[in-house]
């Protein structure tokens, strides 16, 4: 993580939302640097602002305070330069386009030539193993396949950074594990940096090089847990002792945050001691 400059750098980022009769603090004092090639998960209870934070990185939402740098430039410029791809919880495929046309959408907006578009789309559909379904419409595909198409679309223009907002949250457990395997394979092959929002602890541990644990409103980073599981990670990884230890560590980090809230005055750090290695 040393050497190359971070691809995402957040400096004391805060966000307030206006609500009836005042404002609510969604995020406060967020400091985070993500190195190129990392896989970082943001995890926390619902309403902790993890999706908001992801959108701030993508310049879909402006922060109220602090600085956001992506790929060494302000987030606005990074968005205009198409430095990142985005995957949402819903696949957000266009009903009126075939799978291959959906994957080509960002390339059309970027004025890529027809030939390049077709070639890139074919490569991406190969990567997510949907080549046989390129002429299908989204409604002819299962939820997991639709989400794979959305990933192909996000990667079609070779962004340096992939932002994923609970992309597998709507899938059943079995499909989710298979999608996790595939995502790691894609990540290892493309070398893209991934920031991944989830509220599944096993998913965060299995995928990530680091898990960032956030607290409920106001959203703060309470723990950053390094995941030292060897790669490539496969099914045996899910049964290894270290995997369970790390799942427990993340769970306790999340719980300590909740405990701190219940006990009010006590500081989270006092209960758990140092954040885990």
């Amino acid at each position: 993580m040393t050497g190359s400059p971070p691809i995402v750098r957040l400096g004391s980022v805060g966000k307030q939302f206006a609500v009836a009769g005042g404002s609510t603090v969604a995020l406060e004092g967020i400091e985070l640097a993500i190195a190129a090639g990392e896989f970082v998960s943001l995890i926390g209870p619902s309403g902790c602002g993890k999706s908001t934070l992801l959108r701030i990185i993508g310049d879909l939402i402006r922060p109220s305070s602090g600085t956001v740098e992506v790929n060494g430039k302000p987030a606005v410029r990074a968005r205009r330069d198409r430095d990142y791809g985005m995957v949402f919880q819903a696949p957000v495929l266009f009903d009126w386009r075939t799978i291959e046309q959906n994957v080509q959408l960002p390339l059309e907006i970027m004025n890529t030539t027809r030939g390049d578009r077709a070639r890139r789309a074919a490569e991406m559909l190969d990567l997510v193993e949907l080549a046989d379904f390129r002429r299908h419409y989204p409604w002819q595909l299962s939820g997991g396949m639709q989400q794979r198409a959305a990933i192909a679309r996000a990667l079609a223009f070779e962004p340096k950074l992939l932002l994923m907002d609970e992309p597998f949250g709507a899938l059943d457990e079995m499909t989710r594990e298979r999608m996790n395997d595939e995502l790691l394979r894609i990540w290892e092959r493309t070398g893209t940096t991934i920031v991944f929002v989830t509220h599944s602890i096993p998913e965060a541990v299995f995928l990530s090089s680091r898990v960032v644990v956030m607290s409920r409103r106001p959203g703060r980073i309470t723990h950053v847990i390094d995941v030292d599981l060897p790669r490539p990670r496969t099914d045996p990884t899910r049964e290894s002792e270290r995997y369970f230890e790390l799942v427990t560590a993340v769970r306790e980090a999340l719980r300590s945050e909740r405990g701190a809230e219940d006990l009010g005055a006590l500081d989270a750090a006092e209960i758990t001691g140092e954040p885990l290695a």
């Binding site: 959108r55 993508g58 879909l60 968005r79 205009r80 198409r82 990142y84 791809g85 985005m86 949402f88 819903a90 957000v92 266009f94 009903d95 009126w96 386009r97 959408l105 960002p106 059309e108 907006i109 970027m110 419409y137 409604w139």
Partner: protein, 262 residues
């Protein structure tokens, strides 16, 4: 019979059966109960009248169709223009919406004589304007709804690509508005024929369906009036089917089209 033909026959059989049954019952009841002709002529009489007066009916049908289609086109273009302006500019929304709603509130029957006065009783233009007013509102309101129907996630996706407003319009808003647009067209197709005929009731050139119905009824030629009504209905159905065919070609991906596959 091929399986496909058989499937189609099975699909259409109920509708054909109901049609035959209704016409048959009508014929029998009128004969058995000796219903007065001016109240309800027999289907067979209407058919005879249809054949005998075919030349007059065809000319009247054509003239009314021209009025309906002309007015349909004017209302369509006006509705689309206002819809796009309204969906794109908040200022236009505030400025145009009240008038659009007011136009919809105009009772068309009260409006018809005024249009006849403005554009000439015998001119087809006066009927076209009546039709245009009728068609304008459903087109406008549906297309506005369609253009603004894109989900927030879709707009976020386009924003993440740094897409321009024009690209969002072309790649998201217009395709998303198509189903709404076709809903409006289906309503408008039949409305346009109603508008034209109602306009004709208040005076017009002689060779149109509305006049033909009014005058046949005045001279107690009820079977001719009914024949004219059938022509009007046939034109309306034809217009409607044309739009459905267009819908199938332009948006084969849409759920409503998929569900209709026999």
């Amino acid at each position: 019979m091929s399986p496909r033909l058989l499937a189609q026959a099975r699909y259409y059989f109920p509708a054909v059966a109901v049609f035959v049954l209704v016409i048959g019952t009508w014929e029998v009841i009128v004969r058995v109960l000796n219903v007065e002709r001016f109240l309800l002529p027999r289907p067979s009489e209407i058919y005879t009248s249809l054949v005998e007066n075919w030349d007059v009916l065809a000319v009247a049908g054509r003239n009314t169709l021209i009025e309906a289609v002309g007015g349909f086109a004017i209302g369509l273009v006006a509705g689309l223009l206002v819809a796009f302006a309204t969906a794109s500019f908040a200022l236009a929304r505030g400025a145009l919406m009240p008038f659009a709603i007011a136009a919809n509130a105009v009772p068309i029957v009260a409006f018809a004589p005024i249009m006849n006065n403005w554009f000439g009783v015998t001119s087809p233009v006066s009927k076209m304007m009546i039709v245009a007013v009728l068609v304008f509102f459903p087109v406008m309101i549906n297309v506005v709804r369609g253009l603004t129907s894109a989900e927030p996630a879709v707009l976020e996706l386009m924003r993440s690509y740094a897409a321009t407003d024009a690209e969002v319009l072309r790649k998201v808003r217009i395709p998303a508005a198509l189903p709404y647009f076709f809903t409006a067209l289906k309503v408008s197709a039949t409305l346009s024929l109603i508008g034209a005929i109602v306009g004709e009731y208040f005076g017009g050139a002689n060779e149109v369906l509305g006049r033909l119905i009014v005058e046949s009824a005045a001279f107690l030629r009820f079977s001719t009036a009914w024949a004219a009504i059938i022509i009007a209905a046939a034109i309306g159905i034809g217009f409607y089917l044309l739009i459905i065919a267009l819908e199938r070609v332009l948006m084969p991906w849409h759920a409503s089209v998929r569900a209709r596959e026999p």
